[in-house]
Chain length 672, copies 3
């Protein structure tokens, strides 16, 4: 039986994780969905949803355990509604992620509060956890505790509450106070405290859970991750979580992307979460399952093709599992009738059918998929919190809504543009917070820094060493303009001048968008600023016009740096993407060429992810362009078979070229 084999795999994964309660598994990736439990539902309804999951080969569900549903006015708890859910889950072999959701005003607080207000509130949360965890910890369906729904506030400081004040005081007492004895320095105390406090509270929840349950997995699902990344202390999260997750709602979280870019966006966010999960596996904990009417910033109903594309992007990025929000629609008030994979009569939408087909494809190839791991690129895009904070700090002062480069999102927009441009060559760069990058491993690797406006001086030696030992760097935009204290690093002697091969002479506004002089035959656009270099002797000038130098290549030790400090990522984004992919194809040619699979010529609008599995290569390709594309793979592998294709065609029928229609998503197996 399908279910049975699956279940065995899960059990295997559970036992394999052992004492550290880490969820790292060798099972094939799984697909599930949020079953939204609420008073008013009948036992039959609840059972129907778990039954549907079973029949769709989606053996994982997430439920939200509303405090306001289970806590009675007299302080006692009544779990009967949720007992029905656990009973059904067990009846249908479904494992549960259970989101802790202490009592709150359901009418006004849709996502749950992120911090208790005071000690009393904290102790109420504790009681809620005590009751819930001790009651459900021995249930067979129990899989993982989601410590909090979507931690993260989007603020630049912790809330002004008695509890925060108390924790802040203790925290401040442990910090050294810096004496000012030089240039003015930015003060990140509030941001740093927000990071501390966010972890402090999650850790408090974790400890409370562990009083009762030392067995089950723990998980959280950050959201709006491109905006909220600098609120999370992922290194500390690693210690209390079994897996890291993320919410990826296109209607809420994808404002940086056009609809055709959503697969790129899912791919990028997955890579970011995987990077930050560190040794843990990662999940997409919420993926938009259906239509929105009243909620969401962008109105959207995914198509069946999109569901398939998004799932395969997550799988290709190495997700251990992907959970839709939601299977059944919430019935009342906020989100009523929205987000679901089911239609209003509990029938399958074309989205659920598509998800089930993907689940089936994985299931029928579970051995192969269990061993599948994303091909790790020798290209890494790096970002850091200093840049995200600095950009947000600056953007908050002026509130320029006209110019991408001055918005709070500028850094991540540049990262997205560079990421997308590189993916058009059939390879996927890794994406890391600079602090998690392995600088010592330099040989044959290249770091891409697209408008990373602040680089902490702590990294200057790392960067220098990385290049010295053979690493390459592609630095574009205003990368390195500030240090960690918001001192302009270019004034006077740029500390990395000898490595980068130049001093930055001037940054000069020219126009909202304008063309730069040719760079090796490519005409790139810039946004707002033109940056001029004073090259050091030994550096090779690679773009120059009227005696002004725009870009240099510099050999330093065994490595090399290409520095092109004009705003090419934001200049070309959405306006001249073809030039940007040509640029990255040119400057990364040696690295792309070493990938086990890449494209002979880039295809804008196409994204290809590859996974290793034993001696096989799994190639996941999505065509988001408006035309049929013909891809020419360059690879040492030979086409073997098609694992999945949403158009039920064989995209690689010739065995060499891959032909993809618009919206086609193909998963092919190649062998060595």
């Amino acid at each position: 039986m399908t279910k049975f084999i699956r279940y065995i795999l899960i059990l295997f994964c559970l036992s394999a994780s052992g004492a550290v309660v880490s969820a790292q598994t060798t099972a094939a990736p799984v697909i599930g969905a949020q079953v939204f439990i609420e008073p008013g539902q009948s036992p039959e309804q609840i059972d129907s949803w778990f039954s549907i999951l079973e029949s769709c080969r989606m053996p994982f569900a997430r439920i939200r355990l509303f405090g306001s549903h289970v806590m009675k006015e007299d302080g006692t708890f009544d779990f009967s509604l949720y007992d029905l859910a656990f009973d059904s889950a067990e009846r249908h072999g479904v494992k549960l992620f259970v989101t802790l959701f202490p009592p709150t005003d359901e009418l006004t607080d849709v996502g749950g509060f992120k911090f208790p207000t005071d000690e009393n509130h904290l102790s109420q949360v504790g009681e809620y956890i005590d009751h819930v965890v001790s009651y459900f910890k021995d249930r067979e369906a129990m899989y993982a505790w989601v410590l909090q729904n979507e931690p993260g506030t989007g603020s630049m400081s912790a809330p002004k509450t008695p509890l925060a004040a108390k924790v802040r005081k203790e925290w401040l007492a442990t910090r050294e106070t810096k004496e000012r004895n030089g240039y003015l320095e930015a003060d990140w105390t509030e941001q740093e405290f927000l990071v501390y406090y966010t972890f402090w509270y999650l850790d408090w929840i974790y400890d409370r859970v562990r009083i009762h349950d030392t067995e089950h997995y723990t998980h959280i699902n950050p959201h709006q991750i491109l905006n909220l990344l600098p609120e999370y202390d992922f290194a500390s999260f690693e210690k209390i979580l079994s897996s890291l997750g993320a919410s990826m709602h296109l209607s809420w979280h994808f404002s940086l992307f056009d609809r055709a870019e959503y697969p790129v966006g899912i791919s990028l966010m997955s890579d970011i979460i995987r990077g930050n999960a560190l040794s843990n596996p990662f999940w997409i904990t919420e993926l938009q399952g259906g239509n929105v009417t009243a909620s969401g910033y962008d109105v959207l109903c995914p198509t069946a093709d999109e569901i398939a594309q998004w799932l395969w992007m997550g799988i290709g990025a190495g997700a251990e599992g992907i959970i839709f929000w939601t299977l059944n629609q919430r019935a009342a008030v906020s989100e009523a009738g929205e987000w679901g994979l089911l239609d209003f009569q509990n029938g399958p939408s074309d989205r659920l059918t598509a998800a089930s087909e993907v689940a089936g494809s994985v299931f029928h190839n579970s051995d192969l998929m269990a061993d599948a791991r994303p091909v790790k690129s020798n290209i890494s895009i790096l970002y850091n919190n200093e840049s995200l904070w600095t950009q947000k700090f600056n953007a908050n002062i002026i509130k320029d809504t006209e110019n991408d480069a001055r918005g709070a999102d500028a850094v991540m927009k540049s990262v997205s543009a560079a990421y997308k441009a590189i993916t058009s060559w059939g390879v996927i760069p890794q994406v890391y917070d600079m602090k998690f990058f392995d600088w010592d491993n330099a040989e044959g690797r290249v770091v891409v820094l697209p408008d990373i406006v602040a680089i902490s001086s702590e990294y200057y030696d790392d960067i220098r060493g990385f290049v010295e030992n053979g690493g390459h760097i592609i630095a574009t935009g205003l990368t390195g303009y500030y240090d960690e204290n918001m001192k302009c690093a270019f004034i006077g002697d740029f500390p990395l001048a000898d490595v980068f091969g130049a001093q930055l002479r001037e940054v000069k506004h020219e126009d909202k968008y304008f063309s730069l002089p040719q760079f090796q035959g490519i005409t790139l656009d810039s946004h707002l600023w033109r940056s001029i270099l004073s090259p050091l002797s030994g550096a090779r000038i690679v773009s120059e016009s009227d005696g002004e130098v725009y870009a240099v290549r510099n050999t330093y030790g065994k490595g090399e740096v290409l520095w092109y400090p004009s705003m090419i990522n934001l200049g070309c984004r959405h306006r001249n993407e073809s030039a940007l992919s040509d640029f990255y194809g040119e400057v990364l040619a040696d690295f792309i060429g070493k990938a086990p699979f890449h494209l002979k010529s880039k295809k804008d609008g196409v994204i290809v992810r590859t996974m290793h599995s034993g001696d096989k290569l799994i190639v996941i390709a999505v065509n988001k362009s408006d035309t049929v594309v013909k891809l020419s793979p360059v690879t040492g592998y030979t086409y073997e078979s098609t694992l999945y294709d949403n158009f039920d065609t064989d995209s690689c029928r010739s065995g060499r070229k891959m032909i993809l229609k618009p919206q086609e998503c193909s998963v092919t197996i190649w062998t060595n």
Copy 2:
């Protein structure tokens, strides 16, 4: 003498009203204007204005009795300024609507406060009323007390004041608290209290007036009515008012309409106010008389043609009277030099001339006009407060300014679109709050529900019974999506599925605007969402594509429902109005055909109102399109004469076709 006859009519109307102090009259409709009285004016100036009204056959004025003008610092009252106004009014046979306007800061509070802050403030208001009413109640010119200027706040809750808190506490004590034992329910307590409190205060004012004066009429003039409707308890208003009024300032209140749609807007608002006046007559209490410079959201000076068009729309809708804001401009600070019918040297503007000509036309046909009553259509557009509240609640969360369907105004925009589309056929639908509609009277009637997103479950039986007994329903857009508690009524088994002939399967976003599959040869546009039905057996599928059903017709009992749940009203509004009028022409053909007068083929941009008067039919037609139109009436009546035409032509010279130039407004008399 003109004046004399008029005056006799008024006296007749006064005495006819008798003990119940109801203003229901059998006089012909009257036109008047606000005379703005302020310190600094000379007796000669004041007298000139009443003299002008007299000579223009406009025997009604409204004055605002500023507390800050009459209350002295020592607490005594000095009415000398207003005595001048009463004296002049009486001298010139003008009757007065007197607006109670307790002391406030004139510089910052232009429209007057809506609620006193505390008991002390309330008692100050009381003293003001005592003095004013007892002083002027026996004046011959006295006609009606306007209890408050423009009640209504636009808020979703009452202000947080001591007085509101006290009243709220008493009110809460009288309400049953609902136990939650099922789905989450929206909480409308604050909105309901605002409705209660608004009436509570007006009733308090009414009682205070009645201590001194049991004779004269009482009135209020709601404003921004398409937005503020759900703040008013019209059933209670009926008991304390002699007539219901409304402010209709194009510069403040017509943001839903293009300028060419203003006659449609006046017509629609008049129909809404008439519907809510219940057994009382209705007035347009403020109609924009002149130019704005500093005030108003939309800068506008009415043309003479527009003045005529708006007056006739109001008269055609059955207004007992129409009062302009203002005759003379306020002289200083806010509104200085704005809004007036007079020019700056007290001469008549072309607007005043136009108004006077309309007044003259009515006067010269006063017997006919006294008996004239709007033809009541068998077509009714219904709305309800649940939809307005729900839409506002949802809109407040996301604040989507891009998509009409997600704005606070969405329901009224849909109603306006449907209303306008229907009027292009030469008929005017009635417009009602669902709670005032006579559901028992079903035979030969059709109810139009355009995107009425919430239908209280209380009405399910009414709707069922209405159709069973022969009524028809045209339901479009997301009509019925929510019940009164914001539960999504489509999830599972839609309670009206057997009546509507289908379950709603899915609502799916597609694009901001997109074309739907043809509906009986008409290509309608939708906005945001495509809705798919699962038809029940017996229902007739009337729009279908690729196996998906878009619309059904269902016979139930003796009646029928057409259900087309895609967003056609907002999809076609301003973008494809011709398709929408074709649609309503098609689905309402039988009902339009039964009207005593309608057009053989629809004319977009034309609005025609008809009135019965004895065996005559009065036909008011306005052409707001850019071209000369030729209308082909279908009617059992025969053209007799032209009562009014702003172009002084005979629009129906052939006796059959009506020919209207752009901006032409003709009023013709037809006989049986």
Copy 3:
């Protein structure tokens, strides 16, 4: 030696100023720059900047004396950092404007607080001043104290602080309370107190400085001057200042202008500051020197050509000196790496080179330039605070962002449009606050009133007398609509009707923009409103259509008024500038013709300023149009030589026509 001669000139200017500590000099204008001093800089860096100034013939610098840099935690002061600056300045012959900048939070308060919060704070400011002034007053480099950086708040009232409350109470006690005995009157108490309080605090600082130093000059630099003008009591400023200054940052303060209009904007603001300096000289205290990234509303890096154009506009307007913001970039946090004339390696940008070349041109012609004074036009554009307050008051209520005429900036937008139109004829009107205009000097002078919406009744007699005595007035737009109390002056009998030759009958909205009937062959556009006059007998109708009168000319006494009350300035601004310059050319022909230099035919996009120097005429011409222009001067002077040309050509090579390429700025000398 260059430096030496320069220094002698400065000394001369210093000694010439004598006991009144007035900076009125007969030296040639000077150019300087802000040297931004901050902890972290080395003595060598600091010295390099003063050395650069010396070598660029820029012998003036401004420094900001941060309280937070010099005040230690124990309350003592350490001036060592600033001693370095004074030492270097003296070593290189540079004079210093020293900006008093009491301790504040540098991270969040970039421009400095404008008012202390309470008495304690005030006394801290006093101590800071005591220490700073007594310490540096005897330094040779010391030139002027800038009492506060950029006074002015942009608010309509003083801050609600204990100190403001105390001062306000005292101030109120000195004012008569007006009894209301007529029309409602606007209440400007808060605006008037803000003006009083702004001066009160500057005067307090001045007195504190004077305790220690009675020798050196005093100065302030208002900013955002087109918006903040009505906050400044310039008549009082005259008494405590040696010179008046202004900040003119294109990125912050030029939102009213397109980039091609920046020279016009610099010119206009300079004329306004010169007018308000009264008997004092004026400076441009901050002129944008370089690029912005994070700061500034409009992203901009000046070009070298722009630097030259702006400097010459300031010099041509009679500035005693112009100081750039900044020479060296601030290094850290806010403004890090922005605004500088230097590049990041302390090398000269093309902007510094351009500035230095202008400085050199002045230096090589220092005798001529020392005597140069702007030609004073017989044309004066007048504005007043009543109009600025009234417009802001009205704009704050409606917040109309669509229509220029209803925005807070409307008056200054109209003034700018009229100013620009007139400059296209090669002449520069004077610009004055109405209260500083010499009404008694009427013969041969013309006053332009472009949409000056409020005219205090105090000026009615001045205006009447001015015209009676031979003055001319050109009144356009809604000029005179309100009096000082916001009473509409047009209602009834306009008090200036006999002077203006008409009553204003109606102001009527027509469209956002629309064409007016021809005025002497010119088709002007209006914005929003069409105004109709009732001419008095004797007035000459100069624009009329369909029996409606749009403009009259009226002879009164020896003078004449042209009244054209439609919105032609805002109607033509940016849309039909050519018609507007034709209009002003037509109605001002006699006055333009009397200028010592003007153009035979107007050139839109060209601005020409002229200065007298002995029997020479200095002609500064800038071409901001996109094409080469050929100017035909009409002048009694003969071309002699070229003093400066940024294109190193001779723009007047023929000796008659001047030929200017786009962006060319030429300064030529003409002789009698």
